[in-house]
Amino acid sequence: MSSVTLKGVRKSYGSLEVIKGVDLEIESKAFVVFVGPSGCGKSTLLRMIAGLEHITAGELEIGGRQMNDVDPSKRGIAMVFQSYALYPHMTVRENMGFALRFAGVAKEQIARQVDEAARILALEPLLDRVPKELSGGQRQRVAIGRAIVRKPEVFLFDEPLSNLDAELRVHMRIEIARLHKELKTTMVYVTHDQVEAMTLADTIVVLRDGVIEQVGKPLELYEDPANLFVAGFIGSPKMNLMAGVVTASGNGTVTVELIHQGKARLALPLTGAAPAVGSAVTIGVRPEHFGPAGAGGAEMSLNIDVAEHLGATSYIYANTRSGEQIIIEHEQSRLQGDQESITVSIDPARAYLFDDKGQRLR
């Protein structure tokens, strides 16, 4: 099994730079997920590792070997595509065994490897069907099977579940997680779906505009985002971001006045350098971190716009008097009748502080 190392990797199309210097160390056997909004360069980065895109500058190593100019087929990788990329005129068996014919593998050996992959993915009953006779989930399993038979050092997945419906996506997600456990291979996985990222990854790499915003374990990113972008991107529903201004700082605390929340004040603990009094900051609070009225900290009174009752929890979409929308996760699943307003409190220990450039202040 191989590690993957990227050093100062860049990609340009003419004068347009899409990957702007990426340094990343992917450990052997790790499950790394690249996540970010569309156009952030996550697929391009994966395709550069695969060798489908030329690396403009920087270095790529797989298993300690420099791979910048090595043919895709000699990088010890296998890739699974969003569109499955199955050969439409071949049966499942032929799809999985096709490439091995050109690697000089004996016929019996091919049959053995195909059978083994089919067993792992429960594809045995489908071996003699052609792709158009399969469902989306089955097709994607065949695509994964085609990757498995080559026994690659590194698996690359390019949004493999995006073409599946919601239920199947959850099912396949679990299968991929199980596969990683079983094969113990390095896997690099691209998705725009942060739920997939959170559930599958050992390590998440958050990308934006060709730059890595943060690398970390799923819960680290959730609990300790490095900047506004990661804070807003990870977590569903999104973290509430509220404009504030620093009114006092010193002695390990900084006091912030929430501009649109009826001037509620919040004293936040801070160990690093404090922002100057009067500077603009952003306060982030996750929907589930609001406390009931009277629990201490800053209190806000909000007008309820819409409430969604999901059973175990409810999401309350509320507005401040100046129109800022706040989402609150409410564990008591029922509000009082046609309640129109709600008062919540913000626990300073669970609020995140960001400076005017969007960087986290701790």
Partner: protein, 297 residues
């Protein structure tokens, strides 16, 4: 009741809309086709004909000129169609390469012949392949041949010129079908094959060709029909006589001559046209049979 009346009115409106086209088609397509079938059982010269049963079919088997024309047509078909289909496929794959520069220019250049005026290009071909034409001069200049080839006087070379001409004219037309089909193939199929180490020749042989099979079948059938009806080039190159000594005479040209050049024998020429219809049907059927997906059978 009201509903039935509404349905009736809708039917009438429908028929009214298609009536003009139907009348024209009936008058100028269906009626002549049926008429020609009836004609093919008539014998006699000019307008003076009578029912002859299968006499025309019997005459076919004993007519050396017809057999010659049939042989020529088959020669053109068997040699030209595969050459053209292969060339069109190769051009299409080459011109589908996104890294190729001036792709648009090449595509246009290869497609242009089939929209060029027939008379203009025939005239230029005739001058190029004349005994003292540019083709002979070029071949002699590079010492491939010692003395000029009689392109239009030698029975073998006359056929070669016809094949070159129709290949030049129709390759681009077929290429467009392949290009369109190639652009519909998901690019990641080729990327997956590249990553899996499938060499370029195998990607062409085992991925491109099978995925283009329906289009290849379509172009083959269309080209077969076109070649069996070959008339324009032969007529223009040989001043309408299929020379030298009938060596380029095709079925269509023979029909034309039987009808308009010789003492008109409408019944017999109708029989020859029905030979083309039967041949097209048989050959198309064979091609569909060969191309049939074995798995679904």
């Amino acid at each position: 009741m009201a509903q039935a009346r509404l349905a009736r009115r809708e039917h009438l409106t429908g028929w009214a809309f298609i009536a003009p086209a139907l009348i024209l088609l009936g008058l100028f397509m269906i009626y002549p086709i049926i008429w020609s079938l009836w004609m093919s059982f008539q014998v006699g010269k000019g307008m003076n004909f009578s029912f002859g049963g299968l006499a025309n079919i019997e005459r076919l088997t004993k007519d050396p000129v017809f057999l010659r024309a049939l042989g020529n047509t088959f020669t053109f078909f068997i040699i030209q169609v595969p050459i053209m289909i292969t060339l069109a496929l190769l051009f299409a794959v080459a011109l589908n390469d996104s890294t190729l520069r001036f792709r648009g220019l090449f595509r246009t250049a290869i497609f242009l012949p089939c929209v060029t005026s027939l008379i203009a290009y025939s005239t230029i071909f005739k001058s190029m392949f004349a005994t003292d034409g540019v083709v002979n001069q070029a071949l002699m200049a590079v010492h491939i041949i010692g003395s000029p080839i009689g392109w239009f006087t030698d029975p073998f070379w006359a056929k070669v010129v016809i094949i070159i001409a129709i290949t030049w004219r129709w390759t681009g037309y077929n290429m467009i079908f392949y290009l369109a089909a190639l652009q519909n193939i998901d690019r990641s199929i080729y990327e997956a094959a590249r990553i899996d180490g499938v060499p370029a020749w195998a990607r062409f042989r085992y991925l491109t060709i099978p995925m283009l099979k329906p289009v290849i079948l379509f172009t083959t059938v269309i080209s077969t029909i076109g070649t069996l009806q070959l008339f324009d080039e032969v007529y223009n190159f040989t001043a309408g006589n299929g020379g030298p000594s009938d060596s380029t005479l095709t079925l269509s040209l023979y029909i034309y001559n039987l009808t308009f050049k010789f003492m008109p024998s409408f019944g017999y020429s109708a029989t020859v046209s029905w030979v083309i219809v039967v041949l097209v049907a048989i050959l198309s059927f064979i091609q569909f049979l060969i191309a049939r997906d074995r798995r679904t059978s």
